[in-house]
């Protein structure tokens, strides 16, 4: 898994001598640098964006960086080369802005914590959240096993999992569905 230190991108690649992600122009400069790094990765690679060196993030930067990286590219733009992104080092200092823009765009993202825990943040319904939590609790398994644990029909379960997969919140593998960042 590739790790991109957003603090380092801000200061070095975007060449902006700050600790905070504020202003739309700063956000756009940082996102463009991140997109270049993501474009160099293999298509099935998962990238971790590490925000632990970022002090605060305002709404404009959250929209410019987080939302635009998660949104599908506009019609006519090149397809994303790296579809799977997880977020690390997110604190309460960032969440106020991030949650707001995710809900605005109907997006969700996976946040990994230093202790190995993970959380789904953004616009998800109860069914999606429950299924996502089961995928993470099991470390990944078959649709049938997840359906049994959720007490739901196989087709229902598969539909929800496919939706999570299309939103880049779980991985699809031969044996079923897996958390982002897992090896299988």
């Amino acid at each position: 898994m590739t790790r991109i230190d957003v603090g380092s991108v801000l200061r070095n690649s975007a060449n902006l001598p700050y600790r905070n992600l504020v202003t739309r122009s700063t956000g756009a400069a940082v996102r463009q640098c991140i997109e270049l790094e993501l474009a160099a990765l293999p298509a099935d690679e998962t990238a971790t964006l590490d925000f632990s060196q970022i002090g605060m993030m305002d709404f404009s930067c959250a929209d410019e960086i987080v939302a635009k990286l998660l949104l599908d590219p506009p019609h006519g733009a090149p397809a994303r080369t790296c579809g799977l992104v997880i977020f690390h080092g997110i604190t309460d200092h960032h969440l106020e802005a991030i949650e707001d823009v995710l809900h605005h765009h109907g997006l969700a993202m996976v946040v990994h914590f230093a202790d190995g825990g993970a959380r789904l943040v953004g616009a998800v319904n109860d069914d999606e959240r429950l299924m996502w939590e089961l995928v993470y609790a099991t470390g990944g398994t078959t649709v049938q096993a997840l359906a049994t644990r959720a007490g739901r029909a196989h087709t229902d379960t598969e539909q929800i999992l496919e939706l999570l997969h299309s939103r880049h919140l779980v991985r699809h593998a031969e044996q079923g569905y897996h958390p982002l960042g897992s090896l299988h």
Partner: protein, 298 residues
């Protein structure tokens, strides 16, 4: 002929309206004298709006500073005269102070012209304001962060929309006229730029209606979240700031052109929308965030 504009004893948002009423009949290039000699009180809004007035004059206005030494010392500490000297022809002496005593000032008057200035004020607030926001307003870290974000977004409004340099000031104080003297933090952002109506018109975001004017432009931007930029994510800053202010039971007012709109909490009796005010260019934005009550209720 030179017109004399009398600054009322209280140079706050209401006092500044009296200044604008007197100014309404004067063309931009008329010679004016702004007489603040008998002013005894100036708020962040009054001071930054006064500098904005200085920016709008084609012919440099004469400015008579307050006679009361305490008042003019406070204005000096806030940074008013430092910038006023460039915008007005100041008659009389003004106190020179070393700005070592920050008091309850969160951020002295700071000019804003570019994105780098937004970074500067955010970093300054992070360094200077934490103690006041924690001990006086008793804001928990997430609420403090929201305050800084509100500051960042409102200041960005100048960079993204005004097309002209403006000013920001932030201060904490006990609000004796309202809220039973509770501590509040106030942010004021003023510019003499194009204002909300022209900004929306330039982006072809004007709604199709006969009611179009400054009042509807403010409603369109603040209530409907419409930005002059067509991207789906634009307008998030003001919308997010509005959400934060609502959650904190705070107040937001924006004056632009001939109208003022407000998100007015129950503790204030201002009118949500005022139209047909004396024209003043640009946008003048004011945010008030109350501190916590005992027990954690905003």
């Amino acid at each position: 002929m030179t017109a004399v504009i009398i600054v009322p004893p209280s140079l706050d948002d209401k006092g500044f309206e009296h200044v604008l009423e007197q100014l309404a009949s004067q063309p931009d290039d008329a010679k004016i004298i702004v007489d603040a000699r008998h002013c005894t009180f100036g708020t962040p809004y009054g001071l930054t709006a006064m500098l904005t007035l200085g920016q709008t004059r084609a012919q440099k206005a004469t400015f008579l500073p307050p006679i009361d030494g305490n008042v003019s010392t406070y204005w000096s500490r806030a940074g008013f005269f430092r910038y006023a000297e460039e915008l007005f022809d100041i008659q009389g002496s003004v106190p020179r102070v070393r700005s070592t005593d920050e008091g309850d000032k969160l951020l002295g008057i700071t000019p804003i012209a570019a994105a780098a200035d937004v970074h500067l004020v955010v970093e300054r607030i992070a360094e200077q304001a934490r103690h006041i926001l924690t001990t006086r307003l008793k804001l928990e870290p997430r609420a403090q962060m929201g305050f800084t974000m509100a500051l960042s977004e409102t200041v960005q409004n100048i960079v993204d929309h005004a097309g002209h340099a403006g000013w920001v000031m932030a201060q904490a104080y006990q609000y004796r006229q309202r809220l039973a003297g509770r501590w509040v933090a106030e942010i004021v952002v003023c510019d003499p730029g194009m204002g909300f109506r022209r900004s929306l018109e330039m982006g072809n975001r004007r709604p199709i209606t006969d009611r179009w004017g400054d009042g509807l432009a403010l409603e369109t931007a603040l209530i409907q979240g419409v930005s002059r930029f067509p991207d789906a994510g634009r307008g998030q800053g003001l919308k997010g700031t509005r959400g934060y202010i609502g959650r904190r039971n705070g107040m937001l007012t924006i004056r632009s052109g001939t109208a003022r709109i407000g998100l007015i909490p129950t503790w204030d009796d201002s009118v949500p929308l005022q139209e047909n005010l004396p024209y003043f260019p640009g946008a003048q934005l004011r945010v008030i965030i109350p501190g916590e009550l005992a027990g954690g209720t905003p």
